[in-house]
Amino acid sequence: MDFDLSDEQRLLKESVDRLVADRYDFESRNRFRSEPDGFSREIWAQFAELGLLAVPFAEEHGGIGGGPVETMIVAEAFGRGLVVEPYLSTVILGGGLLRHGGSEAQKAEILPAVAAGETTLAFAQVERGSRYDLFDVATTARQDGEGWILNGEKGVVLHGDSADRLLVTARTGGSRRDRHGIGLFLVDAKAPGISRRGYPTQDGMRAAEISFDNVRVGPDGVLGDPGGALLVVERVADEAIAALCAESLGIMDRMRDLTVEYIKTRKQFGVAIGSFQALQHRAADMVVAIEQARSMTYFATMMAGEDNAAERASAIAAAKVQIGRSGRFVGQQAVQLHGGVGVTMEYSIGHYFKRMTMIDTAFGDADHHLSRLAEGGGLFKAA
């Protein structure tokens, strides 16, 4: 049992922590958000330079061959800075789908460009009626000679408006909620027949509604088995959830620090409000919730690479439940303890609170995962 980081991991942590501390204060973030793509291309280039965009990829694809722990380190730091760049969509989701589902040629074409910061990706998966079920896919892919033709609507595609390439789930067979018959397609975001409606999100990022109207995909645009992509999608969603847990942890740690700092300095009734036992206990409860979340983030990180899909799924579901619950509590208390300033745009605490809230709705909220976990027989099964 070893919770310590290796030397290389510590170096990675130091460099990403420093970058966030130096370049990602609250005002800079506001500036980055207002750039045309909703994030800073310059910061993105710095991420590339530091090797952050290369973390999970193999060396032959321009990567540094990191695993879930390295991803956790980066995501946690990004949580502390409320980083708005498309890391999740490009590196974790798009990159992950290619890593697990792509052919050698597809990986060789795209991953080095991702690692170098030249290509961004987005995962077009959610549909208006799919809610959190990854297998609920109505968008269709019809075989057409050697290639495919896509038709359908995808929604809340994170960074879908600025991405260069899209990874799209579409049905090649079966009916809407079948586990079989789901394919994964790689398309140029500007391909004819694609229209994108981009918009800001509640947590300061960007997303898009994307419609596919007879979009042609060549034979080289399908990832793996055109009817059997769900396993890859589920694996990558689990990795994404692990990364979101780590990001949440960064957010919660920051909310605790900001709140403690605030109640130490804010005076009412002639004393710092942090001297009131009612608030001390509330802050202590925040710590308890955060430590539970930290532990489950480590658990998720440990299990993100697990090959037994059922075990991995329960572990990840459990972690998402904990993160959802802790995040809700910590966010609400952080705002409450700030009093009125907690609900203003001018203070950063509200922005952490909003991002934390939205993470719950990404890849399934706490209730969704609680059901999943319960249906799978829970965590502690009879021996």
């Binding site: 809610r131 929604g155 509640q202 509604e209 009612a278 009093g339 909220d365």
Partner: protein, 402 residues
């Protein structure tokens, strides 16, 4: 003990509901249902409809335009208003400064201001909180110095709700810096058009602008605008805050929200089934309904006790109403987040309340865009009106004697 409404009370409820049905613009009702804001003019017009009917200020004494209804009727009216839903008349006028004026104000103040409040000829805002004085309101620093027949006011108020629309502001100001902090405060009525007043908006986390900072720089206020006696303002403020807290339970508002959640959950699906058939979700919803029913009964107990309570003295149980009422309102905003799912994410700035509807189709379900902003914004209800921590403090001291 008979907890049922009498046939007369039920008939009264039908009458009220019928009036709302016949007189409230359905488009305005739809805005409320969707969780959108309405415009200043819409509220003014609606208030005048109520006032023309004689229902503008039902809870005021009859000689000032009240209806003489029993406390139970008052309750039914308010609940119907909230649950319909119809816009509530502006609390700063009808629930806050109005009662202060008719209880403590001069004859001139009563004659001039009360009818204007009832008819919304004046928009009022509340200038109590300051940057350094929130929960510890009595530490406020904005000062008023008597110069002949004027007070000269200097200082700053903050969190002033809808001050951008206001014609008048009622303020707590310090008139005796030497006295104990509660004893040097006065209650002033200030015309927002007086030179030296600046309003600066504060944006809330949902993207809206409903609160402001208000700055006073040598603002000259006629002494006739002092309410009651100089340095007695704290007593009037306590009276006012007691009224604020009973209205804060908002049982009707939560009822309307829960009904709507049930409706939406019958449309949204989890998998093949409507969400309302999902056991986890519907039990969560039912649990909030239980809390709300209990709150409603508590509210009715407080209403019933009003008959025997010493006049003008708020019930300490109003802190219970404030805590539970705000928590339940917040729970309903969380349930809506559950219902909307991934479509909570898109941020669509609310169109100006006066603007024509845009012809861009909504992103996701047409009711989705207000869900997350309402959840964010509603964190305020456990902060304002005396925070829930302060309410617990009141219960511990005033009810439990700790």
């Amino acid at each position: 003990m008979d907890l049922r409404f009498t046939p007369e009370e039920n008939a009264f409820r039908q009458e009220v509901r019928g009036f709302f049905r016949d007189n409230l613009d359905p488009a305005l009702r739809a805005k409320l249902v969707a969780g959108h804001h309405f415009s200043k003019q819409e509220l003014v017009d609606w208030t005048r409809v109520l006032n023309a009917k004689g229902w503008g200020v039902p809870h005021w004494p009859v000689e000032h335009g009240g209806t003489g209804w029993t406390p139970v009727q008052q309750y039914i009216f308010l609940e119907e208003l909230q649950a319909f839903p119809a816009p509530a008349p502006l609390a700063f006028g009808v629930n806050m400064v109005g009662p202060v004026i008719y209880t403590f104000g001069s004859e001139e103040q009563k004659t001039h201001f009360l009818p204007r409040i009832a008819n919304m000829d004046d928009w009022w805002c509340q200038g109590f909180s300051e940057p350094g004085s929130g929960s510890d309101l009595a530490s406020l620093k904005t000062k008023a110095v008597r110069e002949g027949d004027h007070y000269v006011v200097n200082g700053q108020k903050t969190w002033t709700t809808l001050a951008q629309h206001a014609d008048w502001i009622f303020c707590l100001v310090r008139t005796d810096p030497a006295a104990k902090k509660q004893e040097g405060i006065s209650f002033l009525l200030i015309d927002m058009k007086t030179p030296g007043i600046t309003v600066r908006p504060i944006q809330t986390i949902d993207g809206g602008v409903e609160v402001n900072e208000v700055f006073f720089d040598d603002v000259r206020v006629p002494v006739g605008n002092l309410v009651g006696q100089e340095n007695k303002g704290w007593d009037y403020a306590k009276f006012l805050l007691g009224n604020e807290r009973t209205n804060i339970a908002r049982v009707g508002v939560s009822k309307e929200r829960l009904r709507r959640i049930r409706e939406l959950a019958a449309i949204e699906r989890i998998g093949e089934e409507p969400m309302i058939r999902n056991p986890r979700f519907r039990e969560k919803l039912a649990a909030v309904e239980v809390e709300l029913k209990a709150l409603e009964m508590t509210q009715l107990r407080v209403v019933a006790a009003e008959r025997t309570r010493e006049k003008g003295k708020p019930d300490p149980a109003s802190s219970v109403l404030k805590i539970k009422g705000s928590e339940i309102q917040q729970m309903t905003t969380e349930l809506l987040l559950d219902v909307v799912g991934p479509y909570a994410l898109p941020y669509a700035p609310e169109p100006d309340a006066d603007a024509h509807l845009s012809n861009e189709p909504p992103i996701g379900p047409d009711w989705a865009s207000s869900v997350a902003p309402t959840y964010f914004n509603w964190r305020k209800v456990s902060i304002y009106g005396g925070s829930n921590e302060i309410q617990r403090q009141i219960i511990a001291k005033a009810i439990l004697g700790l």
